[in-house]
């Protein structure tokens, strides 16, 4: 689960990492009050989760009340999400710092770079030597000497090295306390006197550890639309696209491949629904969601072991009986209980296939052929 910038900054504040003064607003009518509080110039920042906000015009430095109102209104309208009004802080340079995991060694991994404010993946590709890495044995924790190693390797010294050390140790505490997949400050602004301020913040929580942190819940703001949000409430991975074929696949690995195959054979995906694992009992509900979304055709694929084919087929059959859909349905249901499953599907007039690629090609044919 990704936190919004303003949520990340609340956690930074909690642990004592300096952040600029800011206030969060939901509508343009709150902007005057926010600016009175924060002062001008200030920065308006859309609270959306995708990267590249700057390039997309969703972060704006504004000098006057008028500019603030115009830009604030525009950003609020474009995103439909909250807006962070934040004090502008004069800085000398910017730095990148993050903590994530190193799957190979089983460590936490600190990454830091003095090229802050830019895309770290870009730097990783072009100037990997500029990124300082320090692995952390999580059973021992990040030790102050390791923070020193990072700061002095970056070339910092004096107050900046000491401040960086303290902030990194605090960031690590947050990483552990909240079971994070990733915590990132980019940019971490270094001021003239060597002190630092976190100008942005990314905070990805581990969904598998969310039960330990019930204060964080996914809200409507985390999703593009109501359908995705509602599916998530039921624990069903669902993504809306713009294409033709509704994809309902059991198992993440197979779903990815079917998605690839649809594109390979020139089709487009209308939506993506994954009903494997514990969701295989929810086939009926999933099928209804697919039908409600009204794609041009529905493609169902499974090859499960624990996710029993017959149970899934029954759910599909029930939904079909109830909603009597008119769009074509292509099903390739195999795995445990496949004979019974295929019988069931035939009972409502569906003609189950045996081969995934055949099924993909058939579905594309049914929606009017390859778009290439």
């Amino acid at each position: 689960m990704k936190l919004f910038e303003y949520q990340a900054k609340e956690l930074f504040k909690e642990i004592g990492i300096p952040v600029p003064a800011s206030t969060i607003i939901s509508g343009v009518q709150e902007l005057d009050k926010a600016i009175a509080e924060i002062g001008l110039p200030c920065v308006l920042k859309a609270q959306v989760l995708q990267g590249g906000r700057g390039k997309a015009g969703l972060v704006r430095f504004v000098r006057t009340q008028e500019e603030a109102l115009a830009e604030g209104q525009r950003i609020l309208e474009v995103t439909g999400k909250k807006l962070l009004v934040e004090a502008a802080v004069p800085f000398e340079r910017e730095m990148y710092i993050s903590i994530t995991v190193d799957p190979f060694s089983g460590s936490a991994l600190v990454m830091a770079c003095l090229e802050g404010g830019v895309d770290i993946e870009q730097i990783a590709r072009t100037m990997p030597e500029k990124i300082i890495r320090e692995k952390v044995d999580t059973s021992l924790g990040l030790m102050p000497f390791q923070a020193d190693n990072v700061m002095y390797a970056l070339g910092l010294s004096g107050t900046a090295a000491k401040e960086g050390n303290k902030i990194l140790l605090k960031l690590y505490k947050l990483f552990i306390k909240y079971d994070a997949e990733l915590v990132e400050i980019n940019p971490l602004m270094i001021l003239k006197d060597g002190t630092m301020v976190a100008a942005d913040g990314k905070f990805n929580l581990d969904d598998n550890a969310l039960f330990k942190h019930p204060q964080f819940t996914l809200t409507r703001e985390h999703y593009k639309n109501d359908v995705e949000f509602e599916a998530a409430q039921d624990g069903i991975p669902y993504i809306q696209f713009e294409g033709d074929i509704g994809m309902m696949v059991a198992g993440a690995g197979l779903a990815n491949v079917v998605f690839d195959l649809v594109h390979y054979y020139g089709g487009t995906v209308a939506n993506y629904l994954e009903f494997g694992g514990p969701n295989y009992h929810k086939a009926q509900k999933c099928m209804k969601m697919m039908l409600d979304a009204k794609p041009k055709a529905i493609l169902i694929a499974t090859f499960g072991t624990i996710a029993r084919a017959d149970v899934m087929a029954q759910g599909i059959v029930d939904a079909v009986k109830e909603l009597k859909p008119e769009i074509p349905i292509v099903a390739v249901i195999r795995g445990t209980g496949e004979e019974l499953a295929q019988e069931l599907l035939r009972s409502v007039g569906l003609n189950p296939l045996n081969d995934t690629e055949e099924a993909v090609k058939k579905a594309i044919e049914l929606v009017g052929g390859a778009s290439k």
Binding site: D207, G253, T336, E357
Partner: protein, 294 residues
């Protein structure tokens, strides 16, 4: 021969009295697996399908020689159960739990490495030495999927595994061992650590690797081939070629590491190392022919 386990390997099942545990214990036994004991705290004295149950692994290990353990316990108890097996000196562990907290995965991976133990998973469907023994969840009763043969399979996915092994059988081959390393972002055992086992297995002629977007496991395999650590033919097949960037599709493991992890990267690395890459499942048979029949 097959890798990791065979019909003689003495296997323990943790969580054996649960619904899934007892179901798969029965199947594993039926398949030929040498299940010697089970563990569920508080249930010592019970039996599951004739298999004696103990309170703790230590107590089970005091009564039976145990070489491997299959964990069928919920994700929140997985870490503890793994450490319990390691503590009893057992070095082969298969972890099926899906949803183990990431920070716990780190801890397990690190400790397992330091103890030189082979912990497979989490979120693994298991391992099967086809025709001999299995620890995990495999529909071995589908003969068009689990036919014994000379192809090693290692996979990050459960659902895709059946899809691919069926292609292997369709092409006239069968599997020697199938190892599901699992779909988690920090698999306890990585592809590159399975590879040497297939390399030295005289019953494996080639390996099919079922990969996925995200992480660097497939790139590590490419490196191992380049370094001559693995010299048999390898056919890679990876899902997520067209997955939209930034969108979490598929397994939790599919998080792209800075500057690495796209399927294009993986294909490039593997091809450069001399491995064959299947664009689609249906290509796997032809590539096996190409590799093995020349």
């Amino acid at each position: 021969m097959s890798i990791i386990i065979d019909g003689k390997t003495k296997v323990l099942i943790q969580g054996i009295t649960g619904k899934e545990g007892s179901f798969w214990a029965k199947h594993a036994k039926e398949y030929g697996t040498n299940i010697v004991a089970g563990v569920t705290p508080g249930k010592e004295g019970q039996e599951v399908d004739g298999i004696p149950v103990y309170h703790t692994v230590r107590r089970a290990a005091a009564e039976h020689k145990i070489e491997a353990s299959l964990l069928v316990v919920p994700p929140r108890f997985a870490k503890g159960a793994i450490f319990e097996v390691l503590d009893a000196g057992i070095k082969i562990i298969v972890v099926t739990a899906e949803g183990i907290p990431l920070h716990e995965m780190l801890e397990v991976r690190r400790v397992a490495l330091s103890m030189n133990a082979l912990v497979i998973g989490g979120n693994s469907t298991g391992i099967i030495s086809t025709g001999k023994a299995m620890m995990g969840f495999f529909p071995y009763w589908l003969e068009r999927v689990y036919k014994p043969g000379r192809i090693g399979v290692m996979t990050r996915s459960g659902s895709l595994t059946n899809e691919v092994t069926a292609e292997i059988v369709k092409a006239g081959y069968g599997s020697s061992s199938v190892i599901a390393v699992g779909g988690d972002p920090v698999p306890f055992t990585r592809f590159v650590e399975i590879l040497p086992l297939f390399e030295k297995d005289s019953e494996t002629d080639a390996v099919v690797m079922i990969g996925e977007i995200g992480g660097t496991m497939e790139e590590e395999v490419a490196e191992a081939i380049e370094q001559g650590i693995f010299t048999k033919p390898l056919i890679g097949f990876m899902g997520g070629r067209t997955a939209p960037k930034g969108q979490k599709m598929g397994h939790a493991g599919a998080i792209i590491t800075a500057g690495k992890g796209t399927v294009a990267d993986k294909v490039e690395a593997l091809t450069k190392a001399g491995a064959l890459v299947a664009d689609r499942p249906s290509m796997i048979g032809a590539l096996l022919d190409q590799a093995l029949k020349g």
